[in-house]
């Protein structure tokens, strides 16, 4: 049995040393995060995290609850703006633009960096209107035919079209949880983002629905850059190419997924993936 007290002491001393182990850089970066610090009020939530996110890769972020992985994810499309006490420092580049800059237009940023949430959150509208919501707002379709095309394509990419094509007028809340989550993915895809952020997208779903979403993530990789936060380590292992391990606000280790799960370099990463804390 592992000595918990010893582990806690070790954890605290490690937390002070915020050097990230492994290679944070990639050859073809889509997003470059430099020295990101996040505070909730006076409480630091993320401590000096730097990482590149590559083109057409799936980056998984794992770590114990409260380690800051969701907070980091929400920096990437400035969703933290909706939390009053939250303050983000550092630099975050998407297409050579610092998206943390006050002047950045969050509306167009969020159209470029879409987000899928933990709990399926379809709007109280029809399936069709759920998907058409984003394109309508951004004026992406000139007429009904174009809108139809965007909606059908998005539903198809989300692997949902065959299941709902006969009831596009049914409320988005009337389909099953797994279908709702795929509807939310379709809604995100519909505004043709470059990056899709997923915040524990399967935590509210059963294993079959989870498997479908994982397959979908695998397919979406061809067209999008995906950052996924997950609690299920097997899921990270199955869907991602690179994995980042967060611990108490520190980005502890980054590396190819196969390496992280077989030969982790950092002691904390090893403790986590072998199930000593979680």
């Amino acid at each position: 049995m592992f000595d918990n007290e010893e582990l806690l002491k070790e954890t605290k001393s490690q937390a002070l040393n915020s050097e990230t182990v492994g290679d944070i850089h990639v050859d073809d970066p889509r997003i470059i995060a430099k020295n990101i610090n996040v505070f909730y009020g006076d409480k630091p939530a993320i401590n000096n995290a730097s990482i590149d996110i590559g083109k057409n890769e799936v980056l998984a972020m794992i770590g114990p609850s409260g380690c800051g992985k969701s907070t980091f994810l929400r920096c990437l499309n400035r969703m933290n703006d909706t939390i009053d006490a939250c303050r983000v420092e550092g630099e975050l580049f998407l297409d050579n633009e610092n998206i943390l800059d006050k002047k950045t237009d969050v509306v167009s940023l969020r159209a470029k960096v879409g987000m899928v949430f933990q709990k399926p959150n379809p709007f109280p509208k029809s399936i069709y209107d759920n998907v058409a919501y984003g394109p309508k707002i951004h004026g992406m379709a000139k007429n009904k035919i174009e809108l139809d095309e965007i909606v059908f394509k998005s539903l198809d990419k989300a692997g949902l079209f065959e299941e709902v094509k006969d009831r596009l007028d049914a409320p988005g809340t009337s389909i099953s949880g797994g279908q709702q989550q795929r509807l939310c993915i379709a809604r995100t895809i519909a505004v043709s983002p470059e990056v899709i952020l997923m915040d524990e997208p399967c935590s509210a779903l059963d294993p079959i629905a989870t498997a479908k979403i994982e397959e979908l993530i695998y397919d979406l990789k061809k067209n999008f850059t995906i950052v996924i936060v997950t609690h299920a380590m097997q899921q990270a292992a199955r869907v991602s190419q690179r994995t980042a391990y967060f611990h108490l606000g520190n980005l502890v280790e980054v590396g190819p997924t196969s390496k992280i799960f077989t030969t982790p370099q950092h002691k904390l990463t090893e403790s986590y993936i072998t199930g000593r804390f979680g």
Partner: protein
Amino acid sequence: MNMTVILITLVLLAASSYYVGLKKSVSIQKSEKLHSAPIYHGSLLAIYSLIVSLLFILIWRLFENYLYPEFSLSKNLIFFLSLLVFLITALIVFLKIEKNFRAREKVENIIEIFLLICSTVAILITIGILLSVIFEATRFFSMVPITDFLFGTHWSPQIPIREDQVGSSGAFGAIPLFTGTFLIAFIAMIIAGPIGLMSAIYMSEYATKKTRDIIKPLTEILAGIPTVVYGFFAVIVVAPFIRSSGEYFGLNIASESALAAGLVMGIMIIPFVSSISDDVINAVPQNLKDGSLGVGATKSETIVKVIIPAALPGIIGGLLLAISRAIGETMIVVMAAGMSANLTANPLEAVTTVTVQILVLLVGDQEFDSPKTLAAFALGLVLFFMTLILNYVALNIVRKYREQYE
């Protein structure tokens, strides 16, 4: 012997019988396992005896005058008889207490019946009110034809003292009253609906916590101001303002107008709309808002396209509450809109409402069998049905919407 003394004695007896029952069951419990906990045996003994003796007194009082008038004066007799009834019931229950006695189930039953009675009281009283109004209204309709009342366009509820008096026939056409009511309620809703909804949106979505903590209580103060004070405000400030601005445009506006009453009533019901809308908008889950912001919608797009539709049932509820408040309001109208029953859709003229006329008809010394007085009940009856239909329609809209999206 005073009735209060009887009641206090019975309650004291009940308390002591509780301990008697408790003691007996506890002593049984020492040797055997009881079906019900001792506390139920004690409670049953107390409640049963109390109920039976109180019922006895009630029935006695109801029937003494019919059956035994000679005993009716003897309060002492009632007292002793009720004590006797109490003790006999207590004794019977006491003897029944043994290890298999199902006291718990019986106590639960009594509680259930008690709760049922409580929940039917409101229904029974509503039916009672309705019946009393219907009864008086029927008497009115026997004097004035119902079609004249419902479809008549002239309201002048004067009853001649002499046969040959000028204007001897009273007219009871209720249409001017209802148009007046709806005109004022409509003006009030035009004011309160948008302002209330907008302020709710500001408070729940834009305001910081500090601002909200100041604005919300202050808005709710509006609901606590007595309507008479609103009436003063209408008469002293709003009506002269409307008249002078009318003069500026060359309009001749009476100092009593539907507009003045409607405006002030609208201000009065703002808190009904804003407070309820604010609550339901806050109840819209954060993840719906996040979902909308997450695809790049702005705050206002999110509010218009996601939050309001999701909160609509609650908002409609708030609006309807405000409307029924506006329809039932009397004081402001008496003071600001006058009492003359004009059939008009012009908000600059004086109008009157149903509730004001009910007030006018019933004030002062009136005979209770003249059409003039009874007309008040007919008006009340129609008003009752209108609000009933309004509520029914609203509930249906809300339910349909819920079924669709939950």
